[in-house]
Point group: C2
Chain length 111, copies 2
DNA sequence: TCGAGATATAAGTTTATGCGAATAACTTTA
DNA sequence: TAAAGTTATTCGCATAAACTTATATCTCGA
């Protein structure tokens, strides 16, 4: 396997990771988990989605190694694996904020 | 517009931004632009995709405020708008690296 | 071990996105 | 202004991902 192929493989995984973040419900789930571990029921209630949706999204996060599931009796508690994920999301939100601000300025200057 | 709705709007934009990163070719384009501004032709050659594909991906980056296009004669030069985007991508890559390392360790321990 | 609560999965549909090929539009030079 | 080079768009197809509803699985307590 040459370097070019390796780069492509890694870049594909990098993109897959971004795809795992590209859903508003999963972002809300991650920020909720960043506060403290929670059960599926708690997460479902907190972000206001149906239980099967929460379960599916949590599965995506699990499969990408972003969240970890632990059974506690009849509940399953999810927790955030790597807090740097929140750093990355926060940075992206800052980029977004400035991007929107630039657009707003453009709008003002047009008047 | 209440706070709940506002949070959802922002979270949707946050997810849209992540979706813009969720493609290997766009990630390669962003890292290339992080080095220095380049024309479409140069980018096309550097990451080895067809020209229409490069143009389409660059349009996505433009529309999300991540890249900026400047016409230089018959060329169009693209540049990275916000270097913090690369910080975020680097952080995600570090998260990915550790995630893969954990999986590799699990595999070893199973033997 | 049976019922209830908690979580996960399946099915079917809809929506979105990427690609390749063809072509259009814009800019400079002859 | 016609030709050549550069970049952008369109079209048709294929793949993938999300949602809702229904159902299955798992765990605990009676």
């Amino acid at each position: 396997m040459n370097t070019q192929q390796l780069t492509q493989e890694v870049t594909q995984l990098h993109a897959d990771l971004c795809a795992a973040l590209a859903d508003p419900n999963r972002i809300l789930l991650l920020y909720a988990l960043a506060e403290k571990p929670r059960t599926v029921n708690e997460l479902t209630a907190e972000i206001g989605i149906l239980q099967p949706a929460a379960s599916r999204h949590l599965k995506v996060l699990r499969e990408h190694g972003l969240a970890r599931a632990t059974r506690l009796g009849q509940h399953v508690e999810y927790s955030l694996v790597d807090p740097r994920l929140i750093d990355a999301l926060d940075t992206l939100r800052a980029v977004l904020r400035d991007s929107l601000a630039r657009r707003a300025n453009l709008m003002n200057e047009m008047e």
